[in-house]
Amino acid sequence: MSTSITIALAGNPNAGKTTLFNTLTGARQHVGNYPGVTVEKKEGAYTFPTGEQASIIDLPGTYSLTAYSVEEVVARDYLVQEKPDVVINITDASNLERNLYLSTQLLELGVPMIIALNMIDVAQDRGITLDAKKLSALINVPVIPIIARSGKGTPELMAAALELAGKSTAWNPLHISYGEDIDLALHTMAQHITTAGFMKECCTPRWLALKYLEGDSQIREKGRTDNPVVDTELQEIVTKVGDHLHKTMETFPEAIIADHRYGYIKSVLRQEVITHKFDIDRLHASDRIDKVLTNRFLGPFIMLAVLLGLYKFTFTYSQLPVTWIESFFGWLSGNLNTMLPDGHLKSMLISGVIDGMGGVLGFVPLIMFMFFGIAILEDSGYLARVAFMMDRVFRIFGLHGSSVMAYIVSGGIAGGCAVPGVMAARTLRSPRERLATLLTVSFMNCGAKLPVLALLTATFFSKNQAPLMFLLTLLAWAVALSAAKILRLTVLRGEATPFVMELPPYRFPTFRGLLIHTWERTWQYIKKAGTTILAISILIWAMMTFPGLPASEEANFAQQRREVTASFIQTPDAPQLQTKLAAIDTARAGSALRHSLAGRIGTAMETVSWLPGFDWRTNIALAGGFAAKEVIITTLGTAYSLGETDQDNNTSLAETLAQDPRWNPVVALALIVFVMFYAPCFITVVCISKESGSWKWGLFSICFNTAFAFSLATLVYQGGRALGFAG
């Protein structure tokens, strides 16, 4: 029997946690919920050379174990409640002093842990020498130097983890002295807690007392529900110490505690654990790069160029694989068409299943290339610089520099997805800035809107496609930011929250890391396509097929066919016969679609949709787009392919639209604008509701966005017509 142990990876953001996780688990990982930003729990499997199994949890990166952000709460709750067998604390060896702040808190909690000194090679290049043995002896936990990127040192690290797990000793919290005042208060509080058996199941009395002194809102809330009397007693002691400290030293308990933690770290490091060959402020290669990339004048231009470059890369290089996939699905539907007899099954397979899958999978290469580019920006550290340069601008709109992440993931660099974007907004602490971000990220051009935008721009603005797509991204930003400002001035009034952020050193992304990132996100898209989209595609096919034409109408069309055939009885091979028959069939199909459920809804909506210039086919497609934006293309495709009975005639949707006299650049532009800004897909709406804690906000986003998009599209269409661009 092989046993399985649980190992949690904890550490600062940018300490190489995810890199180590990827190195250890490779492809054997499972991402719970939505990827993008490691807010959700990532789990992977690892097999020791000796055959034992380990389940590895990648905790979100945090600087501390207070309850400052959702990530910290998630990480702490996991440690306290799940009690993993071993915690591997990954530290950046080139920035050890600050990294040890989290380690100290882990020690205070008492978890069985190992410190991994990551990027030991970078530290060496910077002239930093570390004595791992000495550090280990001083803080009494194993310390293993590693290079997570190359996997150097990881066998030793895992061997140490296995050994520690085998010991299964009780938790052994570190006690640091925080000075007379705090120590005394801690002692008194711990006694109260022990006597009352307060929150026994959670953690040690001293740790609880410490959290109370630090003003930890999460622990206090739990304490209040556990035992309000003890909670009040403890709170009184905290207030007394706080007042005393404020009067005598103008400081706060949590400040004193933090100072003593750093004091402890300094005292450890000073004992010949760390030696610097160079001045600590020496400019490294990364700083020299920053002198150019975040230069106050050059920086913004470079940033713009980088974003534009990403576009070119995505659109140019993904073209070839897109054609392959399109021709594959074309071949498939062609084969099915000859193999199967006419009827509902064939119609469903071709118009529902294959067109649905093909429409979605055809854009996988595009999305893959886009995510690959984003992964490069993320993993290299450039994305943090974008947040740094953008913060001043974002603050104007009542947002936070960190909002940029949510916006970019949602499609600020076109091709994201609002679902992980909404999740990324978790990094925001202030409920107001978070809500404003949550509610506006869906205005961005997500990967699902891209196919629609790409199709329309390619069809009607083929000469200027790249610049127009770039302009549409800028438009999305402008609209999202203005909407955020409006929200922050009205329903979400309030002050700004702190912006203290790390600029990690530039790093060459590892190819493996890039591939894993890209694959994770692309797979998420495909999964969505494979399940939701396919189901909806079939559902929409059904809506567009049933109920069929009434018997009298069917008889009418059959009668017409007979009459035409009879009139050509002398020359049955004449080409005019085929043309006339085809015209009747098209009319029949068109009439059938209008009779279908979807056609009736679409026709009913024409009473308002004439304003932005949409006909009933577009209306059906847009209604389908609420399920998922990818569906817009598929539905439009299905609407047109069902409209023409001749399925051998493989004119693509783009050609069909270009030839349709009802379509022109103004209609296309109005539709583009509407698709960009109307109600988010229902998955995003669900996420917004969950993340904001209320369905009210989900509903709000549907109504607010659709009303806004309708007005803007009407303005574009009517304005364009008035100016005579409608052709």
């Binding site: 400040a255 601008v393 203290v500 952020m501």
Partner: protein, 77 residues
């Protein structure tokens, strides 16, 4: 040695933090990132619109807004 606010420091100027006069969430966040009294800091640069500011501390680079830098006093050396 003069003590000034972090906001008033020039690019490439260095000093030692003497006080962080803020509590609550902002105070905690600032301390989590290593901005505590007795630590050396250097101004690395500023964003295009002069705000936020990038500082070098404990061998790493952090950014904070000018309004947050107002709580941090530094002895120039």
């Amino acid at each position: 040695m003069p003590t000034i606010l972090l906001r008033e420091m020039q690019k490439d100027q260095s000093g030692t933090i003497t006080a962080v006069k803020v509590g609550g969430e902002l105070g905690r966040r600032i301390r989590d990132m290593g901005i505590v009294p007795g630590t050396r800091i250097t101004i690395m640069g500023r964003a295009p619109l002069y705000d936020p500011v990038a500082i070098r501390i404990m061998g790493g680079t952090l950014t904070l807004r000018n309004s947050e830098a107002d709580h941090i006093e530094v002895e120039i050396a």
